[in-house]
Amino acid sequence: MIYADKSVGVIVQNITGRQGRFHTELMNDYAREVGGRGVVAGAAPGKGGQEVHGVPVYNTVREALREHDATASVIFVPAMAAADAVMEAAHAGIELAVVITEHIPVHDTMKAVAYAELHDCTVIGPNSPGLLSPGECKLGIMPAHLATRGGVGVISRSGTLTYEVVDELTRAGIGQSTIVGIGGDPVIGQTFVDALAEFEDDPWTEAVVIIGEVGGNLEEEGIRSTDLPVVAYIAGVSAPPEKRMGHAGAIIEGGEGDARSKIRRISALDVLVASRPSEIPELIRGVL
């Protein structure tokens, strides 16, 4: 289990928005189920004094933290204001910011991540489904019913593809320690390197599944950095160059970051790469 456990108090930024409301309820359903603290407060400028599913709302993160003990924030703030929300959280003392928002301009993300670092705030995302440690805690939007507790960590740049893989693992009787969606944008806070370092220090985690895709070379960088047994899957072998495949970060640029050469380079590190999601359970069993 990495990044958070059931003792962590969570706030939700833009808790009064449609997504914020909906997922606050789901996160707290899960917290009740596992005996965790869940979402203790929300923040939304101008909405202080309201309640969302019984959770008190404050105008600012600082005000929320004055009244409640929380160290993590899940951010549903619209794209053009999301980077500001990350900086507000970091400035107020939040230690872990999970950014669900998609379509944040890259320059905003670069600034927010750099600013958060100055305040020792860890950023997951943007464009992330969040993280889920089965039986412990859920920060974000992952469907919890697909997961089951166990010793395999999952790190992914994707949302639904992660659910697919988690579903395959669970059906095969392989449980997960933490599932973390690091986000589909070109610039993200926690990369494969960072998440793998967390898993290395985690006594629960015996092996890690890496779900990558076209664009950049951070999967390979992560795999090179770790001693943990790893199985990889890279989406996008059929993706054409210079076309953005849904995620802002999923693009083969200047002849770099295509799936086949990624798979070749990862395979050269003696790491097994699944050719399709349904192969992953079998491969992970081989390294456990």
């Binding site: 909906f22 789901l26 794209a79 053009m80 944040i104 301009p105 890259v106 320059h107 993300t109 670069m110 600034k111 991540v113 750099a114 600013y115 939007i141 992952m142 469907p143 019913h145 740049r157 994707s158 949302g159 639904t160 593809l161 992660t162 659910y163 697919e164 579903d167 589909g184 070109p186 610039v187 806070g189 990369t191 779900i211 895709e213 076209v214 664009g215 950049g216 070379n217 951070l218 960088e221 989406a235 996008g236 072998v237 059929s238 993706a239 054409p240 076309k243 953005r244 495949m245 849904g246 995620h247 802002a248 970060g249 999923a250 200047g254 799936a259 050719s275 399709r276 999601p277 349904s278």
Partner: protein, 361 residues
């Protein structure tokens, strides 16, 4: 979105980066009127979004006497399949030395990265591959408004200090224009000073609105139509239409089609929580592509309601066969609705794609 050279140069010029005297023309005859202002030594550059433009014959030299004739020649050409509709006519610079500078987003450090080489020109990529030390590289904190002098010294090495202002202004362009890439190749020294002889600027698609750009020209008409509905959409040319939710799952669906030796027609991500209306639009859009004889719908997730999806598919009522794989809320209701209308719903990605292959074959 990529800007064309002349557009990028307009931006650079506004930020105080010297660019050659020049004018954009849309027909060969227009060139004559501009000769007094630009001079007698000319460069004519096709304004097409094509890599390796110079080598492909998109850049020609002329003087006053040959200007119109050369312009006619250039307008009649095809540069790697792209017709020439606009030409940038510039003064020919008296180049002393060419340098290379570019600023991009470094995913690994999550910060801007500046690359500089003492030798610019058309072969910079292969030169950089052959000799990594030929390109110097510095990372700048995104919180800084200027390149600090110590980093500039590291970047320039023995290259002339007079390049520094142009490079710092390029960094301003990069920051303020939401650029994914700002490049000058070559950045040149001349007896009259430093000039950006070429210009490249790519703007972050997620920042187009705040940069005042209304239409993303990099998208095809159907891709733009898809964007209006909130879909991510790419055409691929095969016969199996694909609709998924989430970029990764949709990409993985395409890959699985390739794994089973089929050819996907498209990538379409309907996004989270798709309702009846959105699904119907998606199915109709994919069915409207020529050559599509089967469509695979692959949806998974907590907030997608399977009965809504089923209604959307049924409402679209398109000629190609639709094969569905979905899991989520109201899965059973969805399955029943589909079965009543003669659609197949399968339990796994692999099964759905094998079924689609049978139809497509």
């Amino acid at each position: 979105m990529k800007l064309l050279e002349y557009e990028a140069k307009e931006v650079f010029s506004k930020y105080g980066i010297p660019v050659p005297k020049g004018v954009l023309i849309r027909a060969p005859e227009e060139i004559a009127a501009h000769l007094p202002e630009i001079g007698d030594a000319l460069v004519l550059k096709a304004q097409v979004d094509v890599g390796g433009r110079g080598k492909a014959g998109g850049v020609l030299f002329a003087d006053g006497a040959t200007a119109v004739e050369t312009a006619r020649d250039l307008f009649s050409r095809d540069i790697r399949g792209v017709p020439v509709g606009r030409v940038l006519v510039e003064e020919k610079l008296a180049i002393e030395h060419e340098y290379y500078v570019s600023i991009a987003v470094d995913r690994s450090s999550r910060q801007p990265v500046i690359l500089f080489a003492d030798a610019g020109g058309v072969d910079i990529e292969s030169a950089a591959l052959a000799d990594e030390s030929a390109v110097r590289r510095v990372i700048v904190s995104p919180l800084l408004h200027d390149i600090p002098p110590f980093l500039m010294r590291e970047l320039l090495g023995d290259a002339p200090k007079e390049l520094a202002p142009a490079i710092n202004r390029l960094y301003h362009v990069f920051r303020e224009k939401d650029a994914m890439l700002a490049e000058i190749n070559p950045l040149v020294t001349t007896p009259r000073g430093v000039y950006a002889a070429d210009a490249k600027l790519i703007i972050d698609d997620n920042a187009l609105a705040r940069q005042g750009i209304a239409v993303n020209r990099d998208l095809s008409e159907r891709e733009r139509e898809a964007e209006k509905h909130g879909f991510s959409y790419v055409e691929l040319g095969g016969s199996i239409g694909v609709i998924g939710n989430g970029a990764g799952l949709t990409m993985s669906t395409l890959d699985l089609i390739e794994f089973y030796r089929g050819r996907a027609a498209n990538f379409l991500d309907v996004g989270g929580g798709a309702d009846q209306e959105r699904v119907m639009h998606a199915v109709k859009l994919v069915a409207s592509m020529p050559g599509v004889n089967v469509i695979v719908v692959n949806l998974l997730g907590g907030i997608t309601r399977c009965d809504e999806v089923a209604k959307g598919i049924i409402a679209a009522d398109v000629p190609p066969k639709v094969i569905v794989r979905m899991a989520g809320t109201n899965e059973e209701e969805g399955r029943e609705l589909l079965a009543e209308h003669g659609y197949r719903m399968l339990g796994s990605m692999d099964a759905a794609i094998r079924a689609a292959m049978e139809v497509s074959a």
